[in-house]
Symmetry: C2
Subunit: 75 residues, 2 copies
């Protein structure tokens, strides 16, 4: 799931022509942390995800579409 | 935003007739923490949000729909 979130963020950032440092700054995080999120090696906090989404002119909900593989639910 | 996420979770839980302890257990968290999430006094981590969504037979993306008030984006 982390990889998919990272990919969605990265694809959107590239489509907007933003650099990682520019996005990191707008999302009030560090370039290093932003790189790890995009690489799928870190989950952003929900608050950071909201800030990333806003900086990418989208929503956290949009960034998470299709990220979850079908998981078991309470019977 | 926290209130809206909590409300979405609570509405969905009630629609499925689940108790807070039952949902908390399925989402591998505590009843107390689940109560705070629903009350909007705590943000779940992204991982916990995924587990809550799975336990509610929905997705994190769905639970976050409409949660964000329009925020500034990078110009």
């Amino acid at each position: 799931m982390m990889q998919r979130i990272g990919k969605h963020i990265r694809d959107r950032r590239l489509a907007l022509g933003l650099s990682v440092p520019r996005l990191a700054n707008a999302a009030e995080t560090t370039t290093r942390y932003m790189e790890m999120i995009e690489a799928g090696s870190r989950y952003p906090s929900l608050m950071t995800l909201f800030r990333i989404a806003a900086a990418l002119d989208t929503t956290a909900s949009e960034l998470l579409v299709g990220v979850e593989a079908p998981l078991a639910s309470v019977g």
